[in-house]
């Protein structure tokens, strides 16, 4: 899977990844996919919760060498 826009949140800890995600989604066109990299274990709970709350779709979570990648589609 590949995203349209990349958001690198590696090395960041709570609350920066979620704040950056909220800002990045606002700049994304509806229907496009954000590819977000993270290393904070907290993001694994926070990103799905944020998507659920804001109505955006978490398409996939992939474990990587040093963390994880989220694919999030802007829905509205």
């Amino acid at each position: 899977m590949q995203g349209d826009v990349i958001l690198d949140c590696k090395g960041l800890s709570c609350p920066m990844p979620i704040l950056k995600l909220a800002m990045a989604i606002k700049k994304l066109e509806v229907g496009k996919v954000l590819e977000m990299y993270g290393t904070d274990p907290g993001s694994k709970d926070d990103v799905p919760a944020w998507c659920g709350k804001t109505g955006n779709s978490l398409l996939e979570v992939v474990d990587t060498e040093d963390g994880f990648t989220f694919f999030i589609r802007r829905e509205k």
Partner: protein, 396 residues
């Protein structure tokens, strides 16, 4: 034989996964910490976090030839021992769940950690409290100063969320740049982590056990510290989130988790105080109301910038976040200096009516005092639930 062997392994694996495959709900952490807090009070005094970190700073600067407070060596002051073992417990929790890694943030974030820590140190000393002593333990102690301190925390948190949103919009570079994560347990890597986790827990227990000969108080503080660290890391227990989320995502879960812990502790604390097992005035600080509101606001701003209060910094440090190491260093520097050079003048300038120890049951009795605290918590609950539904105060 081999069949039962395989079965046994499967059951143990299942047990292990219950604790370490997923994060625990934060409210589970809140309740477990609340119970542990009662145990601490029975052993000696309620939970406090900043005193331990201050002791590290005092000792460090005394070693360098300074003349700061002397509460005892780092291995003999109970709250210092508690904090050290708390980091070890969080380290072990992260290792067991393969979540440990040394995570170096962009340089701007490191400075935010340090700056947040400096502010927390300043606020903790001026306000005579932190999120634990002046909130998580202060409310169960039925101290009205703790309520004021918490109002300060909320004000500081609100301001800092505004600042963070401004920063991300105007200065996105501050939180981006070169980062590094090492010793990670990514895909197919890091099977060494759970093994090291066991080693860390065993070392922690040996430390606790070795104290039994000289001081059973220190032994229990060490053991409970280890337990607190593990619980905090596994449940990602975070007072900053409890106070911050209403202004960010609107989620009420972290607030409910903290309330759960406070309720449990309050039950035990009231019994202990009412029965005279420990002093009634314990964890009722002389900060009602000016030091509490000023210290609370500064502390609340600092913890939100740093991304963790004192305990939040300690357990995240154990998980390997270098930003929170910077936060701890900031506190270690700010607390001794504030206590020596700023606090005396600040307190001297205040009339006695503005720096009171306000133990509510002394004025209205235990029953009504507990009722007042339950009513405050009910209002808080209704607020976070209403805000979660309406998004009135949340940023997104």
């Amino acid at each position: 034989m081999s069949e039962s062997g395989a079965k046994k392994k499967g059951s143990l694996r299942e047990l292990y996964d219950v604790f370490f495959s997923k994060s625990w709900p934060m409210w589970v952490g809140g309740i477990l910490l609340g119970v542990g807090n009662i145990c601490l009070f029975i052993v000696l005094k309620p939970w406090g976090a900043s005193g331990g970190v201050k002791n590290w700073g005092d000792n460090l600067f005394n070693l360098m030839g300074g003349d700061f407070a002397n509460m005892g060596a780092v291995n003999l002051f109970p709250y210092s021992v508690l904090c050290i073992l708390l980091i070890m417990g969080a380290f072990a929790g992260a290792l067991f769940s393969k979540q440990f890694a040394l995570r170096f943030p962009p340089i701007g974030e490191l400075f935010k950690g340090l700056f947040g820590g400096l502010l927390m140190g300043l606020g903790a000393v001026l306000g005579v409290s932190c999120t634990i002593g002046g909130f998580f333990s202060g409310w169960p102690a039925l101290s009205m100063g703790a309520v004021v301190f918490t109002i300060g925390l909320v004000a500081g948190t609100w301001l800092a969320v505004k600042y963070l949103l401004f920063e991300i919009n105007k200065f996105p570079k501050l939180s981006s740049g070169k980062t590094l994560s090492i010793l990670t347990a990514g895909k197919g890597k890091g099977s060494w982590q759970p093994i090291l986790g066991f080693v860390v827990v065993i070392i922690g227990l040996i430390i606790a056990f070795r104290y039994t000969g000289s001081s059973s108080v220190l032994a229990w503080y060490a053991a409970i510290g280890l337990y607190f660290g593990l619980v905090c890391q596994r449940s990602r227990f975070c007072v900053v989130r409890a106070l911050r989320e209403p202004f960010m995502s609107g989620s009420s879960k972290p607030a409910l988790a903290v309330m759960a812990g406070i309720l449990v502790s309050m039950f035990g604390f009231v019994v202990i105080k009412f029965m005279g097992i420990r002093g009634e005035m314990m964890w009722v600080w002389p900060h009602f109301w000016v030091p509490a509101i000023i210290g609370g606001t500064i502390f609340g701003f600092g913890m939100t910038i740093a991304g963790g209060c004192t305990v939040g910094s300690l357990w995240r440090a154990g998980e390997g976040h270098i930003k929170l190491w910077a936060s701890i260093i900031g506190m270690m520097v700010a607390m001794p200096f504030t206590a020596k050079f700023i606090k005396p003048a600040f307190f001297d300038a205040l009339p006695d009516s503005m720096k009171q120890m306000f133990f509510l049951p002394e004025k209205i009795g235990y029953g009504p005092a507990v009722g007042v605290f339950l009513a405050i918590m009910l209002l808080w609950y209704l607020f976070v639930k209403w805000n979660e539904r309406t998004g009135k105060f949340s940023a997104y």
